[in-house]
């Protein structure tokens, strides 16, 4: 096994990313995922990890959920494949109908996409085309994906190295409605925001935040796009997080969780205010988008997540986590500043970057896999599967607790000291 593992590391270094291998090695955080199930995966060297990141929602239903695997197998048995981007398999229509029916506002026009980045680019372009304006307002610390507009609307951290700035794209502080109201004007095509920005450490915006943005958009005729890639599909205890704020966006992006852990698919839903533009020649063709098999999977994900039982279970689990997080903050005030939470969308906020980084390493060493928030590294994301079992919760929480206890050890104290001097680290 060990030989196989080092062969993987060599191949990955040689044919994919020497940079990643070097960073992971430097921190002693190399992991090569082998078998996986539910909330856990194993490294090839036998080490077990509790997945408290779940790729930001891809594994909302855990690793290799039987439900979506069966949906895939059934679809394949029914002789489906990716289908064609210029034809409609009825299953695409069925998914579009089912998705639109769950929307927190009337957003009946559904664009199937290959990834949420793809959907973000489509939504921004549609807003620009529809309003004939070029200004797009988003928030500092946001992350919308890796395609051009998504990068331009995201935080400078991912934008600057690739010269991704585009004219017309401006950012204001997240959660600051006044700054947003100030920036939205008659030239604004769109406002795009994550309901709760994961890469910014799950900052929960004020209660009136989205309502005020909605009002400002209405006042100036701007389009309000909400990105629910990470917060959607039950993560926060409601199917879509924006329901907590009771605000109706003009467009909603979903992704990650739609994959059911298996199959790349995302979507953007639009209100009928775009009808004239959509019917007037606008197109967004992505050949690999909304594959027939993907629709079969995503349809099953909706069937599972859009039930009161599922959402109640998420809320119940969230209460359990809330108690635990409170307890952690109380017990480790030397490291922890606090926590942020909306349902199962959680982050532990540490005193400073060096502490959170050392804690991340300690969690890794104790068998909890997660990542820090890329745009505010003091926060570590806590995103276990929504279907986590009592036993998995107990063990995972225990491991994380042990990791924080271990922070007093010389190893992590030294690491913290070194990191304080030079903070560079893995995602």
């Amino acid at each position: 096994m060990r030989n196989r593992r080092s062969k993987v590391l060599d191949d990955f270094k040689e044919f994919m990313s020497p940079g990643k291998v070097r960073v992971y090695r430097r921190y002693g955080m190399t992991v090569v995922m082998d078998d996986r199930e539910g909330a856990c995966f194993h490294d090839f060297n036998g080490r077990r990890f509790y997945n408290f990141h779940c790729n930001g929602g891809v594994f909302n239903l855990g690793h290799r959920p039987e439900s979506t695997a069966k949906a895939l197998r059934d679809a394949m048995a029914a002789k489906m494949d990716m289908g064609s981007w210029c034809a409609h398999n009825p299953i695409r229509e069925r998914f579009a109908e089912a998705l639109a029916a769950t929307m927190p506002a009337p957003l009946p026009r559904v664009l199937l996409c290959a990834s949420a980045s793809d959907a973000v680019d489509a939504a921004i372009r549609l807003a620009m085309t529809h309003t004939k304006r070029a200004k797009v307002v988003s928030a500092h610390g946001g992350y919308h994906g890796s395609s051009a507009y998504a990068v331009a609307a995201g935080d400078a951290r991912f934008r600057d190295p690739v010269h991704g700035q585009l004219p017309g794209f401006v950012q204001v502080a997240f959660g600051d409605a006044l700054a947003m109201e100030h920036e939205i004007d008659g030239n604004t095509a769109a406002v795009i925001l994550e309901t709760i920005p994961a890469s910014y450490g799950m900052v929960i915006p004020p209660d009136d935040y989205f309502a005020r943005i909605r009002a400002a958009c209405d006042k100036h005729g701007a389009i309000f796009i909400i990105d629910e890639t990470q917060t959607g599909l039950g993560r926060t205890g409601k199917l879509w997080a924006i329901e907590h704020w009771g605000v109706a966006p003009d467009a909603l992006i979903c992704g990650k969780g739609t994959s059911g852990g298996y199959y790349p698919i995302a979507a953007a839903c639009f209100s009928d205010r775009f009808d004239a533009t959509l019917d007037g020649g606008f197109f967004h063709y992505t050949e690999s988008a909304g594959s027939d098999l993907g629709c079969a999977v995503a349809l099953r994900v909706l069937e599972i997540t859009n039930t009161p039982e599922f959402l109640d279970n998420v809320l119940g689990r969230a209460t359990q986590f809330e108690g635990w997080l409170k307890d952690l903050v109380k017990r480790y005030p030397r490291y922890l500043h606090g926590f942020r939470q909306k349902g199962m969308f959680m982050a532990l906020v540490f005193r400073d970057e060096a502490t959170s980084m050392a804690a991340l390493k300690s969690m890794f060493d104790h068998g909890v896999y997660t990542v820090y928030a890329a745009n505010d590294k003091r926060a570590i994301q806590i995103l276990p599967p929504l279907t986590i079992t009592d036993e998995e919760y107990r063990h995972g929480a225990r491991a994380l607790d042990d990791a924080l206890v271990a922070m007093d050890r010389l190893k992590y104290r030294a690491l913290r000291a070194i990191l304080r001097l030079a903070v560079t680290s893995p995602v």
């Binding site: 993987v8 191949d11 090569v32 990141h53 594994f59 290799r64 494949d81 395609s147």
Partner: protein, 449 residues
């Protein structure tokens, strides 16, 4: 929750095809055929722009393996394996080209030497030496190509452009004025300006040059110092499979190299066998700096695409290892399928070449008597196009082909041209069915015009 209006799909292409009587409600597919609910079938000459290059359902996945999407950040065995296979497929292709190149050069040297034996020659000796050097270098293994995985061809282009800008520190991208690279921000900006629609949606720092013009590219390169890369398709598929004049791409490649400008080739359609070789660029005897491949990679069952760059460009990623994130890119369940697809596609090259030649020759023969209707027949391998005298003729033809159980579509940028991109493992008999349908449709079309 209040009652919602019924959700409908946004897909103008499907709507257009429906309007002209095309089969849009496909329920399942097998081999080269698409089926609707009633059991009626069509031969798929559209294949989702090459996604179904191995036909329908010839690839399986999720078959007993213990994988899921995996984690996009982490080191992954499945992705490393696939990246290894992609590089190997490239290297074999490069080496074949290198071998051909060596043979060509050897012939040239021989010719030169024969010339030199003539009494008035001798001044060519310098040329001869440099040729000798090139023969030797042709045997040297090419640089390794590293893969970055994505889920769509347009994201591959976006990531390629990001890489070229990050690696060179420059920002302008030159591209052809008849290209279609996709619909995400950069990909669309690099595509034909006519596709750009509303002006505000255009990204800056994109400059277009006429397709096939070396001069235009050279002029732009001389004028602008801030050019990061030239982005081209080896075959302008969506402009009706327009091919580059011989040696044109090679000259452009040389010009780029002289000026240290990167060459990005979009091989998402042409790559992996569509043109009869793993990469279409090797037919032009060039190896670009960044390549995108993909439609055929997922075997028609899984979206998986790759942007491949020369190892020497990887410095940028080494400095910013996590700068390009694609959550779904290179999903582990899809990697095994992709490896199988590369191997299957690999065995089809010669056949694709022969079938393509045969297709074009036969269609030209059929069309001979109908010069006024068919303007030209173009293509490489099994990426072919028939250009008609006008859009109406193309549309009428398309309708008649639908009636004759052939599914095809018009090129996005030239609606007077129909594209024929059947699965690469189409049999001769099946291809003859397509040709027969074309023939009988043309007969009717000719009467109308």
């Amino acid at each position: 929750m209040s009652a919602q209006p019924k959700g409908t799909l946004i897909n103008p292409m499907a709507r257009h095809l429906e309007a002209i009587g095309g089969p849009i409600r496909i329920t399942h597919a097998e081999g080269v055929r698409l089926y609707d609910e009633t059991g009626r079938s069509w031969i798929d000459c559209e294949t989702g722009s090459g996604i179904h290059s191995l036909g329908h359902r010839s690839c399986v996945f999720l078959d007993g393996d213990e994988l899921d999407l995996g984690n996009h950040h982490l080191i992954s065995r499945a992705r490393a394996d696939l990246a290894w296979h992609i590089n190997s497929a490239f290297q074999i292709d490069f080496n074949e080209t290198a071998a051909n190149r060596a043979i060509n050069r050897a012939c040239e040297i021989l010719r030169n030497e024969l010339e030199n034996q003539k009494p008035d020659a001798g001044k060519n000796s310098k040329q001869k030496n440099s040729d000798n050097k090139r023969v030797k270098s042709a045997n040297v293994r090419e640089e390794t190509f590293l893969s970055v995985f994505n889920v769509s061809s347009s994201e591959c282009i976006d990531s390629a452009i990001k890489l070229s800008r990050g690696a060179t520190g420059r920002s302008i991208i030159l591209s052809a004025d008849n290209a279609f690279h996709g619909c995400t921000g950069y990909a669309l900006a690099a595509s034909a300006p006519s596709l750009g629609m509303a002006i505000p949606t255009r990204s800056p720092n994109f400059v277009h040059v006429p397709f096939g013009s070396i001069d235009a590219i050279e002029r732009k390169l001389n004028k602008e110092a801030d050019i990061a890369a030239v982005l081209l398709e080896p075959l302008a598929i969506e402009d009706g499979c327009k091919t580059w004049p011989p040696d044109c791409l090679r000259t452009i490649h040389e010009i780029c190299r002289e000026r240290n400008v990167l060459l990005i080739l979009d091989e998402s359609v042409t790559g992996l066998g569509r043109c009869g070789s793993t990469l279409a660029c090797t037919q032009h005897d060039i190896i670009p700096d960044i390549l995108t491949i993909g439609h055929a990679l997922g075997g028609g069952v899984y979206p998986i695409y790759a942007t491949c760059h020369r190892k020497s460009l990887d410095l940028f990623y080494q400095r910013n290892p996590f700068v390009h994130i694609s959550t779904f890119g290179g999903g582990e369940v899809g990697c095994m399928t992709a490896i199988a697809a590369i191997n299957d596609l690999w065995q089809l090259h010669e056949k694709v070449f022969a079938l393509g030649e045969g297709f074009r020759q036969t269609v030209v023969e059929i069309a001979l008597g109908s010069n006024s209707v068919v303007r030209s027949v173009r293509g490489v391998g099994l990426a072919n196009a028939i250009q008609f005298c006008d859009v109406d003729a193309a549309e009428a033809m398309q309708q008649m082909l639908f009636d004759r159980d052939v599914f095809c579509r018009a090129a996005l940028l030239s609606p007077d041209t129909l594209l024929f991109m059947p699965p690469l493992n189409i049999t001769v008999d099946e291809l003859h069915e397509v040709i027969a349908a074309i023939e009988s449709s043309l007969m009717i079309l000719r009467e109308r015009y």
